[in-house]
């Protein structure tokens, strides 16, 4: 174990957690999550998305409770609670999850570019250039990563306005009757609806980099609240814009709604939207690769800089080996499932375990 303490000059202001949490949640998921939620909850899918969002507020609260008690990152928590070996194993699982997540984000983005813009885009070259950019950001340390995530939120924010087009063409009758689905359907929808929210778990790693972490709690919740707002709007726009069976056939619903956009200066909006999306994807990959590297650095005694390059090469190679839609889909859904159980099962269990252990140790 090394480098648990973070030098003061590397720390970030508490309010920046707002951007770190929010940018990790808005990733490639928002391009097509609607279909999966609507399959379960139909026209009440937006309620499912809302419920999933609210339940995640509690998870963030639990995360803060765990980390504040430890006053360190999840790796320190693991070590204290489970010892060096089991704790270390759990940390490795988490690290692999983060690296797989960055892989998923990159591959899905390249898939979207290939399908929607350039079918003959070379994965190797695009991946290489993009990861070069990621390396450039990462070599500046966590502060630069935070800066990138700030821009990753602010610059593409105008894309929310484009939801006006599907809402303008929408059939609001499709939202009625509200709450027409059973609790179990809503739950299944909420389970599917929680997936695009995931990703903020990188908080578990960068927590010690926050100045005055207790103060950052409300910013983290605020960032999450903004995400809920965006997802509910996107979901409502999608439900009104598509008929139920039509949505089931639409893989990237958000991108398809852009096909209706009409602007005097541009014939087709997707090209602008997808290009802007690179700015959303960049901080996602930066943060996850950073979190993976940081985790490895904490577990074995290496410099983070030396571990970053092999990580990026690994991502590039695996990224280029995935060619079929089914593989990408499988990668996406397995990462989402792992993330789901990590957030809704593992974090609460960890919280209870920590609580009990502290009580027991206090008594003895």
């Amino acid at each position: 174990m090394s480098g648990a303490e973070v030098k003061e000059q590397h720390k970030i202001s508490p309010f920046l957690v707002f951007y770190l949490v929010h940018t990790m949640q808005i990733g490639v998921g928002v391009m097509g999550f609607q279909r999966i939620v609507a399959k379960e909850a139909g026209n009440d899918a937006w309620i499912s998305v809302l419920l999933a969002g609210i339940s995640l507020h509690i998870v963030i609260f639990l995360m803060y409770k765990i980390l504040l008690k430890e006053n360190g990152d999840i790796i320190a928590v693991h070590k204290r609670l489970f010892g060096k070996w089991i704790g270390g194993l759990l940390s490795w699982v988490l690290i692999i999850y983060f690296i797989a997540m960055s892989l998923t984000v990159l591959r899905t983005y390249i898939e979207v570019v290939q399908v929607w813009m350039f079918p003959d885009l070379n994965k190797w070259i695009f991946g290489f250039v993009f990861l070069l950019l990621v390396y450039y950001c990462l070599s500046g340390g966590f502060k630069v990563v935070t800066g990138i995530s700030f821009f990753g939120v602010v610059l593409p924010f105008y894309l929310l306005l484009t939801m006006a087009f599907p809402l303008y063409h929408g059939h609001f009758k499709d939202l009625l009757p509200i709450l027409n689905h059973s609790a179990s359907e809503l739950y299944a929808g909420a389970k599917a609806g929680a997936l695009p929210y995931l990703g903020f778990s990188t908080l578990l790693i960068y927590f010690p980099f926050i100045k005055d972490p207790a103060k950052s709690h409300r910013w983290a919740q605020g960032g999450h609240l903004l995400t809920i707002f965006i997802y509910v709007i996107v979901m409502i726009a999608t439900i009104t814009f598509f008929s139920a069976n039509q949505l089931e056939k639409t893989v990237w619903a958000t991108l398809t709604t852009w096909k209706i956009a009409e602007m005097p200066f541009v014939e087709r909006f997707e090209y602008i939207g997808i290009a802007t999306w690179a700015l959303v994807v960049l901080p996602n990959i930066c943060i996850t690769v950073w979190a993976g590297g940081r985790g490895i650095r904490r577990l074995i005694n290496v410099k983070q800089r030396t571990i970053t390059i092999p990580l990026l090469i690994l991502i590039l190679i695996v990224n280029s080996l995935l060619t079929r839609r089914e593989n990408i889909d499988m990668l996406n859904s397995s990462i989402s499932n792992i993330g789901f159980y990590m957030i809704f099962v593992y974090i609460p269990l960890l919280f209870i375990f920590q609580l009990v252990l502290y009580k027991v140790r206090k008594q003895s």
């Binding site: 003959d120 250039v129 009758k173 009757p177 008929s243 139920a244 039509q246 096909k259 997707e270």
Partner: protein, 356 residues
Amino acid sequence: MKLRILLCVCMLILSGCVENSIVDDIQMVTVIGYEKTDDGKLKGIAVAPQFQANGNVENSVFVETAQISKEIRSQFNTESPKPLVSGKLQLAIYSKKIAEEDGIMELTDTLQRDPSIGSRTFLAVSNSDPEAMLRTNFGNVDTGHYIHSILEHNSKYGMLPETNLHNFFYYYFSEGNDPFLPLIDLEEDKVKITGLVLLKKDKMVSELPADDLFTFKILYENFSSNDSYTTDLGGGDHASIYNIASKRDIDLKKIKKNKITINGKVLGVIKEYTGEELNTKVKEKIEKDMEEEVEKKGREMIEKFQEEGIDPLGLGNAVRSVTRGKFDYDEWKQRYTDIDIKFNMEVVITESGVIE
């Protein structure tokens, strides 16, 4: 520093790593047409405008026949000097024969699947031969854009309901609606909208004449239009109202007793009146005559829809939106034909022009 140099080099080298399409080196198809030949094959017609340096527009027409639609697309390229691209497609025209016999879904599916084709692409059914229509020279304009404009302004300001690619698929996949498409006709060297084609799933079952478009639009949606509507007052007198704003309301309170009431309210301004004096009494008469006329047409129309078992007004979706629990469309389709649908009109004339 090394990294920066590497980045610059990458930017220079990689700028050419995807296929580029320079406007001068491609042909942008703006309209495609499909018709069925006598021996059951499919004939595809594509028109791509060529903009000349002197400001003239030349329309290159490509015609190919094949067994399936996918073949046609690759055949087009064999007779074109430049690669054809579909990103600017504005309109797809189907012959009436295809719409009646085969349905248009198979041909429309490619349009929806292709990410380069926009959702605002119009679809239309042609009464006349699509090849003849697309070969016609409409003056110094791009044929696709020309026909597209006719449909576009009529659905924006006129009496044609909006019927683009997205709408078609929305209705096609929605079980509580049936799609409809504009019917166009070639009249000498002009294209004219001659009505509406009503589809069941993707097959044409009947059509509405252009005169009924106003009534249909009142039944179908809220709108405001610059078009006028003329009503016969009897005794050789006519009145025409324009600047129409219409509100439609579907009353579903008695749906349990199989009763639906559609209330239409039209606000308008008198534009033309051929009679003597235009006083309050006459105005009231105009309002009443118009109400009766539209109501009669509307009721006939609804009856026809019920007989054919089609639902272009989206009543199924409206009923679903007020029904709790799982909505059974099969049951609804049986119920639909004998539901008692009432149609009430209210016409209010707000102004009568700038003279008394």
